[in-house]
Subunit: 269 residues, 2 copies
Amino acid sequence: MKNSRRDFLKAAAVTGAGAILIPAATYGVTKKKSRAVKHPIGLKDNAIILFQGDSITDAGRDRKNSEPNNTNAIGQGYALFTAGHLLEKYAEKQLNIYNRGVSGNKVFQLRERWDEDCIALKPDVISILVGVNDYWHTLDGGYKGTLEKFVTDYRELLSYTTQKLPNVQLIICEPYTLRGGGAIKPEQWYPMFDEYRKATLQLAEEFKAIYVPIQTIYDKAIKRAPDRYWAPDGIHPGLPGAKLMANGWLKATGLYKKGKKKKEKDSDS
Amino acid sequence: MKNSRRDFLKAAAVTGAGAILIPAATYGVTKKKSRAVKHPIGLKDNAIILFQGDSITDAGRDRKNSEPNNTNAIGQGYALFTAGHLLEKYAEKQLNIYNRGVSGNKVFQLRERWDEDCIALKPDVISILVGVNDYWHTLDGGYKGTLEKFVTDYRELLSYTTQKLPNVQLIICEPYTLRGGGAIKPEQWYPMFDEYRKATLQLAEEFKAIYVPIQTIYDKAIKRAPDRYWAPDGIHPGLPGAKLMANGWLKATGLYKKGKKKKEKDSDS
């Protein structure tokens, strides 16, 4: 093996990005058996990882605290459990993990604060979970957005992001609902909301993003315990749901388990 | 196989309790290679699991919230990461997880509130992490306790507990310090504090408790990242340290990975 460590890392990063085609085709909407990407996404030393989204990501974080890797700043949701796992398992990489989710946000509201709350942080990895409010807030007539606006806004957000940060690794999390949750009246939500879910998978394919098929993950989990065990209102996860989502994120990115170290006799030569 | 499910569960519980002899002899003080128990501790359906201790367990929990499995009530420390793992992985068991750690507590202070904050909850599993304040608070002369008092008080607490709750599974976590942390002046702490650590291992053996060798776990972790990455002041873990400790707890109890289900053709017959 004559490859340098630099080449190896570069190859790993490329494989990670390319591997989206596997889970995107297999995951989520079609409810086929889930299948993790074959190679973990590349995480360079000191990589900056950003979680973005709405209240599910926000999860009670202290918005005055802008520090990375800080429990109060990361909140109490899936981002915390994901961050804990990454910071423990990949300690030697000295990662920097931020959460900038804001409760109530729809896609166009992410866009309004994107320069400050995303681009300025120069993230290497951006994970986005958004969409439930884009539909939910239309139900009482207070918000006039449509599926078309959701897709257009989301595509523009992703285009802008990849233009500003050409090397970023995107991770798109599927918006989801748990049918038996307290805030879900099924006749109001289905099948209309399913189209929002499906749109995120198509955007993930379009932008070569890793896709985290959260609806599929919950659909499987409710065979083990009732909907409200995971997310009492069907939208905001409780403690078990937050950990479940973190596991899903870690498996979709290939980062749940640490791969065996390659032996590199000629490293950095 | 003619064993009923009831017999199988009983056998599993007994094996779990008996397995303490392995980790207690292998773990902790001697710094030998860590070795998980061979069988997980028994967790019956609806089992009540209680975390007890000082600020490391407390970890900013909302003490007015007495609900089980509630993120605010469980705080942001190792108990949260342990609870998240257990609640996700063993969802079908519908566990009830409480945290009653109180910042600043020494052993005698646990005893003062033990009837209300432990016995009354009727826990099936009690995990205790205490000891650092029993030494720390003597350093400025404000607290006059000794190693002997620590051991006597701790033994009495455990005796009382097993008398009131004869079937309880005890888990004792090793008190620890990280030498490079901001609150640790090594000449003040070592070797005196080591005796407090060693005493907890002996008490674990005496009471057939599972032992979580946290000092050993940190000693290994600081080969991957500096002391302050795990616990800035050397006592209170940050996010990476909290997850590290949770992993240690889960491995010592055998609950990190879920065992394969036994096929039971004659279950409940």
